[in-house]
Subunit: 870 residues, 2 copies
């Protein structure tokens, strides 16, 4: 049963004119009409009607359509129409528009006679047949293209421009014959039969599994619906001076206000964009541009779109027609834009007082800022994609394939750009990662070692590209059907996950003034602090440049991986006695102290949160045989003993093993040496800068208060010792990571001993889901394609599960200690949706990779604005 109104006039002032009922495209047309812009008449079959379209109800609907058509058709009812999908939100309709619906043998002959341009009419007719065959029947358009090619060969034509009216008519006939041969029925001559078939076909495409899955994956399956626009084609289109064009109010790359686009005379038919290759520019100063050939029309176009832009408060791109010296707007949409263009427009509109700064801040997708921070592949560059992995760290870069860290360092030292290609990376690859331009792994997820480190360094990374096979011995990297060798050039795009063979043109990042302006505006609306995860001076400086307001996570283990320190660390691990362990650690003390001094100096008064040693000891030990022997040599240790120790330390599930606070309590000398390095650095910076930094010392992997209490005792004792030795008074805070479900549950108890909580949502996600981030690549994408997960929970916080634990910990923690300082330092600290959740929980800060700091600043501002307007 149909419920009225089944169709709505585009020009109707009805309340039903909502995107939900008529779709976005129709709404744009309606608005243009309201603004008085010339738009051909038309109507919309509403989304509700389309959704319940069926054979039984068709006769009723058909009557409504016929009477509406009569209304928009002029003269003898020979006005052709366009049928366009109009989705309620920005998702693909999975179907093309059909133009010139209503063409038939009889109508074509009539129009050919009337216009005196049979060539143009029959060209349009054959294209309609082809498009109808494709959209409605699912025929392959290439078959029809072949017919044209064959005809031209037959007749010795070289260019389609040589075809005359008779040729066009003959081609239209051949197309119809092909249609009949393909489908076992003649090409329909009844306009209403064409309309019916088109409507049913478009709805089939919209409801096909592929389209449904796409909407499900984009989280819009509930709200998306499709309406169909039926609109008159411009009158008098088959004249020599008529034509189709496309115009945009803004430059899509820069966002600056310059009307651009193109116009093609005699370009009737569908697939406009594709056929505009030989078109004329709108206004490039040449003699043939539209501004020169029809200045009044160009002005009308310019003024019309500009007023529409001001009304929409957004850049507009429109299709238009010119027919018998009249301008018609056929469709409009928001202009496609780069991140830079989006920024420019938002700032422009705010400066023009078309919107508030608040609204401008809300306009920008925080994630899009990433484009501005990293190199991108130049648009319209040919990409020879050989595999796809996870877009683990953004940016595009080319370089030569190397398979190990040492080689990377060697070639990089000679000035050769390299991409480090590994099944997965280990802590000991860190120098190779530093030397390489980017990293490609065949295993590991979004938070694998390679991905996390690369993001931290701001280097492109594609991880888990599982179609690729690495054969280090043979020195090859194999993709399906292709074998690359060590030294071959490849390009990786860490923003898309693509891996390409060869070198590809990339564009360098440019942080324009707009970027700084918008973030400055955003900062005005932000409540949460934004800190960075950083441990090196380089990262800390970069983070501060990006606007970080402190360090939220300094992972001290990275301080042990470098050169001499790694040797000392290995000595410690190999030592059997506490005394020997202390001696080994003592060697690292001055280096660590130096690192902390550097961080404190850079952050000058801003908070610095230092996490005590977290990973299991075996991460510091060598893996392979030859490397193990080398380490044994450098330590003058027995290789057999070393091998034994490595085996002893191996764990089945290191993520759930002897690490974090468990390790600290087994080897409290580590706590003491780290606390000492921190406190001595505080003293040093106090001497240098006059003001002491206040370090926040963070204990990882706690699940019970007593763990924290015991570690705290070692920290406090060390503080007292340093105070005595140096004659100073130390201020510091001790807190804990909340990164295990039990810690979240016991937060009330733990808060009694913690001055701050930092949610380690990477680990919390791992344990809440029971998914290791290192092994998740195998099934997370499968789960996404099956609709089990919308998003990778390591990328965007799982609000329903992990989020409940965070919420619970926040409540219990604050209840026990009202002034508890709360932050997040997992990867989620840089994800806008997760940041919105943190705002809802009223956390005090988020901490993320340096490169994510601008995103976090903007996202935190947006979250606070939205929280206020709710």
């Amino acid at each position: 049963m149909l419920t009225a109104p089944a169709i709505i006039d585009l020009n109707s002032p009805h309340a039903e004119l909502q995107a939900r009922q008529i779709g976005e495209k129709a709404q744009m047309l309606h608005t243009m009409m309201e603004l008085g812009l010339p738009v051909p008449h038309g109507f919309v079959i509403t989304a509700q009607t389309c959704q319940t379209l069926n054979e039984m109800d068709w006769p009723t609907l058909s009557d409504s359509i016929a009477s509406a058509l009569a209304h928009i058709q002029s003269g003898e009812g020979r006005t052709l129409i366009a049928i366009r999908p109009s989705a309620s939100c920005a998702v693909p309709a999975f179907t093309d528009a059909l133009l010139n619906v209503g063409l038939s043998d009889e109508v074509a002959e009539h129009l050919a006679t009337q216009s005196g341009e049979p060539r143009l009419v029959f060209e349009a007719y054959r294209r309609f047949v082809q498009d109808f065959a494709h959209v409605v029947m699912g025929d392959d358009p290439a078959i029809f293209e072949d017919i044209v090619a064959m005809y031209m060969e037959e007749h010795g034509f070289v260019s389609v421009s040589e075809l005359q009216g008779a040729d066009a008519r003959e081609l239209a006939n051949r197309f119809k014959a092909q249609f009949e041969s393909n489908n076992g029925e003649a090409f329909p001559q009844d306009p209403m039969a064409q309309v019916k078939a088109a409507c049913f076909a478009m709805m089939r495409a919209w409801n096909a599994p592929r389209a449904r899955t796409h909407r499900k994956l984009h989280g819009v399956s509930g709200e998306a619906s499709l309406a169909l626009i039926i609109q008159a084609m411009a009158e008098g289109q088959f004249n020599e001076d008529s034509g189709l064009g496309r115009a945009a109010t803004r430059n899509s790359q820069t966002g600056s206000a310059e009307l651009n686009g193109s116009f093609m005379p005699q370009a009737w038919g569908s697939g406009i964009a594709a056929r505009l290759s030989g078109s004329r520019p709108l206004n490039d100063g040449s003699a043939e541009c539209l501004a020169a050939t029809a200045p009044h029309l160009f002005r009308e176009l310019h003024e019309g779109l500009t007023s529409f832009e001001r009304h929409q408060r957004d850049g507009i791109e429109a299709e238009f027609a010119i027919s018998q010296d009249k301008l018609f707007f056929l469709s409009a949409k928001l202009v496609k834009r780069s991140a830079a263009a989006a920024l420019r427009m938002a700032i422009d509109f705010a400066n023009q007082r078309l919107m508030s700064r608040e609204e401008a801040v809300l306009r920008i997708d925080p994630l899009s800022l990433d484009q501005l921070l990293h190199a991108t592949i130049a648009p319209e560059t040919k990409r020879n994609v050989i595999a796809s992995g996870l877009a683990a760290s953004p940016g595009a870069v080319s370089g030569r394939i190397v398979f190990d860290a040492e080689e990377a360092r060697g070639l990089a030292a000679d000035g050769i750009a390299v991409i480090l290609v590994r099944p997965e990376t280990m802590p000991e690859d860190i120098r190779g990662l530093h030397a390489a331009e980017g990293v490609l792994t065949t295993r590991g997820g979004m938070t694998s070692h390679a991905a996390v480190i690369a993001r931290g360094m701001g280097k492109p990374c594609v991880s888990g590209a599982s179609q690729l096979r690495i054969d280090v011995a043979a020195g090859t990297l194999s993709a399906p059907g292709l074998v690359l060798k060590r030294g071959d050039e490849i390009t990786i795009d860490g923003s898309s996950g693509q891996v390409m063979s060869g070198k590809v043109l990339t564009l360098k990042p440019e942080l324009s003034g707009d970027f700084a302006t918008l973030l400055e505006w955003a900062d005005g609306y932000r409540r949460m602090e934004v800190r960075a995860n950083a441990e090196t001076a380089q990262d800390a400086r970069m983070a501060k440049d990006f606007g970080a307001e402190g360090i939220g996570l300094c992972r001290t283990e990275h301080m042990f991986f470098e050169g001499d320190r790694l040797v000392a660390m290995r000595e410690m691990i190999l030592a059997d006695k506490e005394r020997d362990r202390r001696a080994a650690l003592a060697k690292v003390l001055p280096m660590m102290r130096g690192d902390f001094v550097a961080l404190f100096e850079i952050m000058a008064g801003l908070p610095v949160t230092i996490r005590l040693l977290d990973p299991p000891l075996h991460e510091f030990l060598p893996e392979g045989g030859t490397e193990l022997d080398a380490v044994a040599k450098s330590l003058a240790a027995d290789p057999g003993l070393l091998r034994k120790r490595v085996n002893e330390l191996k764990e089945q599930n290191p993520m759930l093993g002897h690490r974090g606070v468990r390790l600290l309590l087994s080897f409290p000398e580590i706590v003491e040496i780290q606390a000492r390095a921190i406190f001595e650095a505080v003293a040093e910076v106090q001497r240098l800068q006059g003001k002491p930094p206040i370090p926040e010392i963070m204990v990882p992997l706690v699940f019970a208060r007593s763990e924290l209490d015991q570690v705290r005792r070692y920290i406090d004792a060390t503080a007292i010792a340093v105070e005595k030795e140096m004659g100073i008074t130390l201020a510091y805070r001790v807190g804990t990571m909340i990164e295990l479900p039990r810690a979240a549950l016991r937060a009330g108890d733990i808060a009694a001993s913690a001055e701050f909580f930092s949610f380690g949502t990477n680990d919390l996600t791992q344990t809440t889901f029971g998914i290791s981030r290192d092994d998740s690549a195998r099934f997370i994408s499968e789960y996404q394609s099956k609709g089990i997960m919308k998003k990778d929970p390591f990328v965007s916080l799982d609000i329903d599960g992990v989020g409940e634990l965070v919420e619970l910990a926040v409540q219990r923690g604050r209840e026990a200690r009202p002034d508890l300082h709360l932050g997040i330092c997992g990867e989620h600290g840089g994800d806008p949706d997760s940041i919105a959740f943190c705002e809802a929980q009223r956390l005090d800060y988020v901490s993320c990779s340096p490169y994510r700091v601008p995103i976090a600043r903007l996202a935190a501002a947006q979250a606070h604005i939205r929280a206020g307007t709710k």
Copy 2:
């Protein structure tokens, strides 16, 4: 400040006569007095007074003590006293009693004259000096023993019985001299000084860190307190006919009512038990037993203790004295008992109507039943302990060391008992585990593979014995200072965790009628069902014999590990195409079906919960090089390819990897073949038994409802197919494990698709704590010794953390589906404390290893009784 009453007369009818104020020992004495049994006068310094004992308050207290002493002392105030610690609950006081306090040079001379037995008096004096030196001053008693030995050598004595009065006097002098030399002060001659020193020393011992830690670990630090008993020694003790004895109302091994014990004339002094080695029996029919030499005293002893037993409704063990033909009871406590004895007594008392059957059921520690189910090491057998590990599966057994599963099978086939010794076991060791008498591992926790399998099989297992080193190549097992070889005999005690060299005498289990009686009584009070975790017919039968009311967890992966099946499974894993995987699985189908038929037949109508394949695929693949080659050969596969596949499947953290429902959704053909095997078995059993079993199919590792929905679709489709093929109607239930924190949080949602939940608390504990059970041995014991954890959370459910998640899941699940069936199938299903928690949550059943079924039956009954009386 002291608050009255600081001391309480043992015979006082005061309300303060509670264990909390005077301790358990004092309470026993008080009760005996009330029953009219002869007990020497005495009083108690209350726990509160003791706890605040200090120098300042001593004078006041001292006055009270002096006047109380005057009250209990007869004649010239020369009555000696005993000072005994009396703790408020059954924890060690960490101090010994002191007897004959009050002896001094002067008193000794007086008593020697008075009694005419200087030898006995000075013997007692020197022992008092020795004990005082030990208890009060901390001197080593061995120094004093050396003095005696030296004196005897000096004088040519061979036996102490040769010593005369003069010798005893001289020895007492030498002891005092030694005391002075040790401590720089003379042995105190003032009785009140002796009392003061003793009281302060006893409280020091009670409050020492060692004692505090012990109480903390046993969870009684809050409630435990110590009082001190001061009691007169029996008058006239220094006579030839006087003596000390010990008597128990029950046989401590069997629990039968037979008064037993011993008596030793002239045995004055402390450390009675130690010095009774040459004592006479009470009543063995011999001429010198007490019943023969003093029948009236024996009768008084027997009647007194029997009436006391009836009053206490528990077996009693007492120290007594005989002095001048009079009987005195000096102290009493509950008789030590084996599990069998405890059962016997409870049943006896209930049959005698001294207590209800309910109370009898509550009397038995469920864990003690384990002693009855497994072989134990014969008491007082010499154990040459070479290492200790975790008591992972109870029972003691001896056998020859073997290092691999094949060898175990070979030797076992020849009738040789072997112990499989491995760093850890793998699924492919399963046949070796079957063949061995027991298993010993150097790695792994309470729920490592070896531990779980061994418990399932009811075989002794010691796991994580980390002091041991296995060198398979050399064929040696090294303990500190000892190297054993392959084939050497060892004994493991899986009830204590001890590893012993050589063969040790063990006692076979005996399930007496008492065992069955008590469990039958318990079943009458039980609400929760008790099921067993079992997958083999052997286990299922054993479980049923132990009273299991169904199978709560059938781990189907074990069905793939055996012989031909493992080969087929490996073929499946190696297959690249679904078709090949299906072909490989089809080979396993008939074998699986047969397994299910057997289980359904044995369980005959009882519920059987079958968990679909859970572990990651790489668990089925070989590890080592040579073994891998052998597999390649048997599969006619390329070893290189196989090796590659093994490496591809390797995971960093398999526990958090591609397993459970994740694997089932990647390879739904596994679900289909398992469901088919189950349904075809149902059909078969229906044909055989006339009644179809109703299987419960359980999906592991779910964290979202949609996972369950998708697996369910494959199950349902298979059911429909089998119904069609066989022309039957199938009934079955589909449910899920709740074993991830997210599953617990999302339980409301998941319950909409699950007919039952089974809490997999092993995995839930792993993820809630972030502790892998395989790697936990490294630090869990350390955490226990540091007081961070009271109990291993893999053994007893962590109520505060994991428990909260279970509670939450129960609430949310029941809210969404009121008839949701709820059970637990982790290792905790056999742990009494965890079972009490399950009762509080009103779960429908617990499921545990077959050998744990009796424990669970009793614990569930107790939990239900206690829940009702709350």
